[in-house]
């Protein structure tokens, strides 16, 4: 199958999925049984039928759900996700404000997860079925068994309270001003502005939550690295390389690793998408002003425009990542090209 045909076919699948996602999010959010009027209008307005009618009209509550859905959809296409009931700001603006914090956290988390995961995976594969392998595997099994909130509490207790070597909750020390916003990533923005004290403080804040977030992806990255490396190490060309008398370090480092990393890259891509959303618990303990915390607050205050906006955004990111992985597979897996 030629590339353009494959590409178009995958793209054709993406569009109905995206529409389906908006429909699912809309109908879940609208299943809220309580009347949003009670929670969102002041007392003085509740006795005023005109204000109630105005509120219903403003949020489109006077129209049947299907019609409201199509209104929502047409606004969505124009980048309008509605206005958050809780923050009184456009949901799109809120997301723009909170997403960079989560993206920064997820990126550092993924980097950490790769460092630990790939490292552990290599150790595990090279010393297969010996002590280092068992140690690494048991450690990573134990690591992923801890609820993220418990690990976060323990980390705060030890590194912030007892040892005092990292900063506590939050993104930046309260006495510091945010660096001038360029990317929305404090570490990058501080570097761009040359504010090294802000950079240091931001790093000291991000280190604990990103390590904790990264631990979870490191487990699966280590497992895939191990099994994929073991498979490659059994392949003919590796045996040839060994037969040529190359050192084991060269065999693993130069020949095996490069080929073994292909499935690992896929897993990293998918786990990055998961981290973006999985940050809810981490963000809530570390008071990280990201999209997870925003979603949590929206869900406890029945802020349905915000709930829908975030759900759709994150699902769309997931679909996007899947699409990219599918496209990558075209190049990685010859069977697709021949099909």
């Amino acid at each position: 199958m030629p590339f353009y045909l494959y590409f178009l076919r995958r793209l054709l699948f993406v569009i109905p999925t995206l529409i389906g996602i908006t429909a699912a999010a809309f109908f879940i959010a609208n299943a809220i049984p309580s009347d949003p009027i009670n929670t969102n209008l002041p007392q003085s307005a509740l006795n005023n039928p005109e204000m109630i009618a105005a509120f219903r009209e403003r949020w489109g509550l006077d129209k049947p759900p299907v019609e409201r859905y199509f209104t929502y959809l047409s606004n969505l296409v124009q980048g309008d996700l509605g206005t958050s009931i809780k923050t009184h700001k456009p949901v799109a603006d809120d997301i723009r404000r909170f997403l960079p914090a989560t993206a920064e956290l997820a990126t550092y988390g993924t980097l950490f997860g790769i460092a630990i995961g790939v490292g552990f995976g290599i150790i595990s594969a090279v010393w297969r079925n010996s002590f280092p392998d068992y140690l690494v595997r048991i450690l990573s099994l134990i690591g992923v068994s801890f609820p993220v909130f418990l690990l976060a509490l323990l980390a705060l207790q030890v590194f912030y309270v007892n040892l005092g070597i990292t900063a506590g909750p939050g993104r930046l020390g309260v006495k510091l001003d945010d660096p001038p916003a360029v990317t929305g990533w404090f570490t990058v923005d501080a570097l761009l502005a040359g504010q090294f004290s802000v950079l240091g403080d931001a790093l000291s804040h991000i280190i604990l939550p990103s390590i904790i977030l990264g631990l979870y992806s490191s487990g699966i990255i280590a497992r895939i690295t191990r099994s994929s490396l073991l498979e490659v190490l059994g392949a003919d060309y590796i045996r040839t390389a060994r037969a040529k008398g190359l050192s084991e370090r060269l065999v693993v480092g130069r020949h095996a690793l490069r080929n073994a990393l292909i499935p690992v890259v896929t897993v990293i891509g998918l786990s990055y998408g998961n981290l973006l959303s999985g940050a809810v618990l981490t963000e809530s303990i570390f008071a990280w002003p990201g999209i997870g915390r925003y979603m949590f607050r929206a869900s406890t205050s029945q802020d349905f425009p915000a709930i829908m906006g975030v759900s759709i955004l994150i699902a769309a990111i997931y679909v996007g990542v899947n699409f990219i992985v599918d496209i990558l597979y075209y190049f990685l897996d010859p069977r697709i090209r021949l099909a």
Binding site: N38, T39, N40, L41, P42, Q43, S44, L46, K86, T87, L156, Y160, V161, G164, G168, P169, G173, V174, K175, F196, S197, V198, L199, G200, D201, L203, S204, A287, P289, R297, T300, S301, Q302
Partner: protein
């Protein structure tokens, strides 16, 4: 490629270490900054709309009122924007002479027009604090520095209302320029949430809801200059995090520690503690509308619940006193512990049986998932659940987001709820809010004046108009007895205030009206 990255790694690491070193040494500290850790409850920073404890703290710092109280109590009325005032013989008209000194942040003087605009705006917007101005018939500028306020009826406690943050005087020009009016079409809330338009010691630099409120010194302030150039109120909802941040020196003042945490801090030489009686009452609300309250709408059931609560237990948790009624202990005439209801499970069960619920009933308790000044509402709610289980009432707990729950409370849609209350007025009259016709009773509990006992309504009217202090106290005593017998509320604890701060911080004073005057703090 991997190789080149590895070669660069040492340089990158070095840069990182350098950055960390610089960060710990190079805090440019020429300005004096105080960071306060606080569980923020701000609903709005527009004086005509906001009405919560945090709002009060911020408005006290950024605005001024016509008259005020002394720094630590409400024992007398003192001049602020008004340097003097007179009262007409019929007690209906108050005339205030403004001080020539007072000026807004941009330097132009506070005039009578600003006062008139502020009060008219408060009435017109009909926001949460608007009820405080209900007794005001009209307000007018006699000349540029003289204001006359006319009441609908003589009120002995009128002046003690004015220090309330709702009567903050705003810069009418600035507010008007940003969409403000003194009619229903006012659109200045967003502006006032972003900056203050007042004459207080501080200016609001920014408010990011649930994150932080930043105040900077007002250079044009005419009073004694405050010590701190910048005060940051950092929202830290969890008392445990506040304590850790205080110990780590990240914050200088923690407003919401629990009594357990305070006792744990007592040996720490770097930390000072202030504690003492306060005037916040924690209470249960039982809606009189049967379609909302269900079984608790029955006055006998409400009475049974008052007998079922373990008052000594709440005192063991938070200190303070068990108040006799919703009239805060400390205000004139309030029923203290000697006249408070004592737990009596047999009586509670008998009352339930009489009301037709011999085996109890099931009900949901709404409350905010919040810690207020160190009192963990989740803990109290669980205790309420256990207390009521002993008389057969099965309570399901429904903690909610503070803002959402607050709306439900103010809109009167909660049937059985747990809330706290700080007095609007430092006067026995505050208690009228909890009686038919009053704000909490009528709007939030549907305990309405219509259908109430005529003798009760007469008594309320009498108490409102009585000028003789001894007779007033007697009348409020009678009203409190009625509330204990047939009220729609079950007050169960009036906790002590607990505050911890860096030992270097001076000037912390708890105030019954505004809780904390930031301008008095220094180091």
């Amino acid at each position: 490629m991997r190789g080149s990255f590895l070669r660069k790694l040492p340089a990158l690491l070095l840069a990182l270490v350098l950055a960390l070193l610089i960060s710990t040494t190079a805090f440019a500290q020429d300005e004096k900054v105080l960071v306060i850790g606080h569980a923020e409850s701000t609903d709005s920073l527009d004086p005509a709309r906001g009405y919560t404890q945090t709002t009060g703290i911020v408005l006290k710092a950024t605005y001024q009122t016509l008259v005020t109280f002394p720094a630590a109590d409400a024992s007398s009325i003192e001049p602020e924007l008004a340097e003097s005032w007179t009262v007409s013989e019929d007690g209906l008209t108050y005339t205030f002479m403004l001080s020539a000194d007072a000026a807004f942040a941009d330097g132009h003087p506070v005039t009578a027009d600003d006062v008139v605009f502020s009060i008219n705006r408060l009435k017109a917007i009909k926001g949460n604090p608007a009820f405080l101005a209900d007794g005001i018939a009209s307000v007018s500028a006699v000349d540029a520095s003289t204001v006359a306020i006319t009441l609908t009826a003589a009120s002995p406690s009128f002046l003690s209302l004015l220090p309330n943050s709702a009567f903050s005087v705003v810069d009418s020009e600035a507010v008007k320029a940003n969409g403000g009016t003194d009619g229903e079409d006012d659109a200045a809330e967003a502006y006032l949430n972003g900056t203050s338009a007042g004459s207080g010691a501080y200016i609001l630099e920014s408010w990011e809801p649930q994150v932080e409120t930043v105040l900077v010194r007002n250079a044009a302030y005419k009073g004694a200059a405050p010590h701190f150039d910048r005060i940051i109120i950092q929202n830290i909802p969890e008392p445990a995090t506040q304590k850790t941040a205080l110990e780590a020196g990240d914050i200088g003042l923690a407003l919401d520690l629990t009594s357990d945490q305070i006792s744990a801090l007592k040996g720490n030489a770097d930390i000072a503690i202030a504690s003492g009686p306060a005037n916040i009452i924690h209470f249960l609300l039982m809606n009189r509308d049967e379609s909302i309250g269900g079984p608790v709408s029955n006055p006998q059931v409400a009475q049974a619940i008052r007998y079922a609560l373990d008052y000594e237990g709440y005192k063991a948790l938070w200190g303070g006193v068990a108040p006799g009624t919703n009239l805060a202990v400390g205000l004139a005439g309030a029923f203290g512990e000697d006249k408070a209801i004592q737990r009596d499970l047999d009586k509670a069960k008998a009352l339930l049986a009489e009301a037709g619920y011999p085996d109890g009933f099931e009900i949901t308790l709404d409350y905010p998932d919040f810690s207020f000044q160190g009192v963990n509402m989740n803990t109290n709610a669980q205790k309420i659940q256990a207390d009521l289980a002993e008389v057969g009432i099965v309570v399901t707990l429904n903690p909610g987001d503070l803002g959402t729950a607050l709306d439900g409370y103010r809109n009167g849609t909660q049937g059985f709820a747990y809330w706290f209350w700080g007095p609007d007025k430092l006067d026995p009259e505050d208690f009228l809010a909890f009686l038919p016709g009053g704000k909490v009773a009528s709007d939030r509990t549907k305990w309405l004046a219509e259908g109430a006992d005529q003798s009760l309504l007469d008594l309320i009217a009498q108490a409102k108009g009585e000028l003789d202090p001894a007779k007033r106290i007697d009348l409020y005593g009678q009203l409190q007895v009625i509330a204990q017998e047939s009220g729609a509320f079950a007050p169960f604890n009036q906790p002590d205030i607990q505050t911890a701060f860096a030992a270097t911080l001076k000037g912390y004073v708890w105030h019954p009206q505004w809780l904390l005057d930031l301008a008095l703090l220094s180091e």
